[in-house]
């Protein structure tokens, strides 16, 4: 493993598989235990540095670090020196001076974790940066697929929605490709990046056409602010053409699963009965997120203190 986890594109097949295998081992080690804690990172300090609101991801990382016995500091930009205008670099140097071994960073600007990594001696984990990447989300998605379907090689994954603005989609494209899955992106052309032709994916504008062959359908959240920016005519039209409802789900093969990174717009990109169906892995993904983040923190920080 490298010193940082900045993007899924950094992970080769061996590294990615090591994370997934480690997560599986951690899960087994904790299964059935009354005290769900390992002493691995005792004496290590992990800072959760969140410049964007994200309850789900922050709690997941916090739980992962605490279950490994690390000291955890939660830093949220709101109400901090950052809201008074302190720069990212000064914040990083402050944390450095306090002896942070690992910094988990969520930031609205693409590339912020990369810059951070050049200023600090500790390990940096990207917990989502702008519209760039969210590598631990892709790892937990891959972990979930492997647990449900038993494999990743050759698995046909359809990712549907706002690919243009989605860091989850980007991370999943690179990681799933690295792990041998076949990815198809489905979206209106307005929500696909201009450079998507150079990605290792198939692109389709027609969700109905690709569903029968899919093993996994991953739905992406459509941000509310996109609805008034002419990316598509209306929420209703989007939902009709690209939303996953019970009728569309019926086109899937019997073993196919439905995923969503959350938070969901029920009734927009995913119907409530689909989200709550046994095929849906949405709640499972959240649980797997803790195991996978424990594996990442263990592999990056688990060396001699």
């Amino acid at each position: 493993m490298k010193r940082h986890l900045l993007e899924a594109a950094d992970l080769d097949r061996a590294d990615a598989t090591l994370v997934l295998d480690t997560a599986a081992q951690i899960e087994s080690a904790l299964a059935g235990r009354e005290v769900k804690k390992l002493p691995t990172l005792r004496g290590r300090t992990v800072v959760n540095l969140f410049f964007e609101d994200s309850t789900r991801t922050r709690i997941s990382f916090e739980l992962a670090a605490k279950r490994l016995s690390a000291d955890v500091i939660n830093f949220s930009a709101k109400g901090s020196s950052v809201s008074k205008g302190e720069s990212l670099k000064d914040t990083a140097l402050t944390l450095e001076a306090m002896g942070a071994d690992g910094i988990v960073v969520r930031h609205g600007a693409s590339g912020a974790p990369h810059r951070l990594a050049t200023w600090v001696a500790g390990s940096v984990v990207n917990a989502g940066d702008g519209t760039h990447e969210h590598p631990t989300q892709a790892l937990l998605d891959a972990y979930t697929i492997r647990r449900r379907l038993g494999r990743l090689e050759g698995v046909r994954v359809v990712i549907t929605g706002d690919v243009l603005h989605s860091r989850v989609a980007r991370s999943n494209v690179w990681l799933l490709h690295t792990l041998g899955a076949e990815v198809t992106l489905v979206a209106p052309p307005t929500l696909l990046p201009v450079g998507v032709g150079s990605w290792p994916v198939t692109v389709s504008y027609d969700l109905d056409a690709v569903l029968p062959a899919a093993d996994v359908v991953m739905m992406l959240r459509v941000q509310g602010e996109r609805m008034n920016a002419s990316f598509f005519p209306s929420a209703r039209e989007y939902s009709r053409r690209y939303g996953l409802d019970a009728e569309r789900m019926a086109r899937l093969s019997d073993d196919a699963i439905v995923m969503h990174p959350g938070p969901m717009n029920r009734g927009m990109e995913i119907a409530a009965d689909v989200a709550d169906s046994p095929r849906s892995t949405i709640v499972e993904q959240v649980g797997n997120g803790v195991s996978v983040r424990m594996a990442v923190l263990y592999l990056l920080l688990g060396g001699p203190a």
Binding site: G108, S110, G130, H132, R170, P193, V194, S198
Partner: protein, 427 residues
């Protein structure tokens, strides 16, 4: 001041002696002698002093990043004898008062001719014409008008500006960027922006404005200058417009001749610039356009920025790069050493044409007896690694840091006075 330059090669041609006296070239010949200061210029090439159409001197308003004096030093060290100071200062150079202030500061620095550019619209707001006539009639004698940093995007207002400056023998220098196509834009839109998650700045946003503006310039019979052309499509449009007889001129920056959007990998905001660095194909087209004269001039778009405005998240960083001190070296690297331009053509693109576009009658003149002694003497064989800490500019945001570049400016003369001697600025 009298200076005898021994064995200098004008335009890289045969070595001669040049006698400079009373601000003009007094004699050219073999074995000239003089009791005055003699400089052994053996191996050095002489060109007319360089003229920049596009410099940000940051004074008034951001004197922490550059002043007219520090920018003048950087310019002289780069071989420049005249620079056009862009109007996006604070306050904006949109009145006779501000342009005269900048002009006087340039006079006081005395290292290069500082030629203020006047804003086209009040406060760069894009809605109301600034007092272009007052700026033209002021001591600064403004002839180039630009809202650079912003595009005059309203077509009716652009038409009026083009029409109005005809009475002033002026030119509108357009920052071609359709703002509705570049909302939130961070870098060139393409494969790389998609992967890096940085909002794209598409080539068409530049090309659409150029296409519109050349047609407007043709319609009203006015002069149009296109700032920092960055795409292959823009070069094609300008070539087409020139073939129709449109009075359009264009400039390209050194950084767009050398660097590509690959520099955005790693998110080092030193490489964030507007218009953005583009693809290798664009770079090739820009070089070809400069070589065949479609692009008239090299202009630096020298844009100093404070450390905190670059040592940060890419999206939060200010766009712009230093350019004055390395411009000639980059042109030698990309255009001369590649066989695309002769030294005479370098003089044309970096001195003669910019002076003509800016209507500067005493700059960009040939190296000949009786002509103003605005000269740069460079060593074409020198090579050096760029060290930002050693720059004369107040800022350090050089995209060439650590890069080895050819050619070194050894001496610069402004009206016969040495502004740079042996690579050292004299004030």
């Amino acid at each position: 001041m009298t200076v005898l330059l021994k064995n200098v090669r004008p335009y890289g041609e045969d070595a001669v002696d040049l006698l400079v006296k009373d601000g003009v070239v007094a004699a050219i010949g073999a074995d000239l002698s003089s009791t005055a200061q003699t400089i052994d210029a053996t191996g050095l090439i002489a060109l007319p002093g360089l003229v920049d159409l596009h410099t940000h001197l940051r004074e008034p308003g951001r004197e922490d990043t550059e002043t007219v004096l520090t920018g003048s030093r950087a310019a002289a060290l780069g071989g420049y004898t005249a620079v056009h100071a862009m109007a996006n200062t604070d306050p904006v150079a949109d009145t006779a008062g501000v342009v005269e202030q900048v002009w006087r500061l340039g006079q006081q620095a005395g290292l290069v001719d500082v030629v203020p550019v006047g804003a086209v619209t009040v406060g760069l707001g894009g809605t109301q014409l600034a007092e272009l006539g007052a700026m033209a009639d002021s001591a600064a004698t403004v002839r180039v008008f630009s809202d650079d940093g912003k595009c005059v995007s309203d077509p009716a207002l652009m038409r009026r500006a083009l029409e109005y400056v005809k009475a002033l023998d002026g030119v509108v220098a357009q920052h071609a960027e359709e703002p509705r196509l570049t909302v939130g834009a961070q870098m060139h839109e393409g494969d790389r922006s998609a992967r890096l998650g940085l909002t794209g700045w598409p080539a068409v946003a530049e090309e659409a404005i150029i296409a519109r503006d050349v047609l407007l310039a043709e319609h009203v019979g006015a002069r149009l200058h296109v700032c920092h052309v960055s795409t292959a499509g823009s070069v094609e449009l300008i070539r087409w417009a020139k073939s129709r007889g449109v009075q359009v001129t264009a400039e390209v920056t050194p950084h767009h001749l050398l660097l590509t959007d690959a520099q955005a990998e790693g998110y080092d905001a030193t490489f964030k610039v507007n218009p953005p660095l583009r693809t290798a194909e664009d770079v090739a087209a820009l070089r070809a356009g400069l070589a065949d004269g479609t692009i008239d001039a090299v202009a630096t778009d020298h844009a100093p920025h404070a450390g905190e405005d670059k040592e940060c998240e890419w999206a939060a960083a200010r766009p712009g790069m230093l350019g004055l001190e390395q411009a000639l070296s980059v042109v030698v690297d990309t255009m001369v050493d590649t066989g695309l331009l002769t030294w005479r053509e370098v003089a044309d693109r970096m001195s003669v044409r910019p002076a003509e576009i800016g209507r500067l009658t005493h700059q960009g003149r040939p190296i000949a007896v009786g002509e103003p002694a605005n000269l740069v003497l460079l060593d074409p064989t020198a090579r050096a690694v760029v060290d930002p800490a050693a720059l004369a500019s107040k800022s350090r945001n050089s995209p060439y840091a650590g890069r080895e570049l050819p050619a070194r400016v050894v001496h610069t003369l402004l009206r016969g006075e040495l502004s740079v001697l042996d690579g050292k600025v004299q004030k």
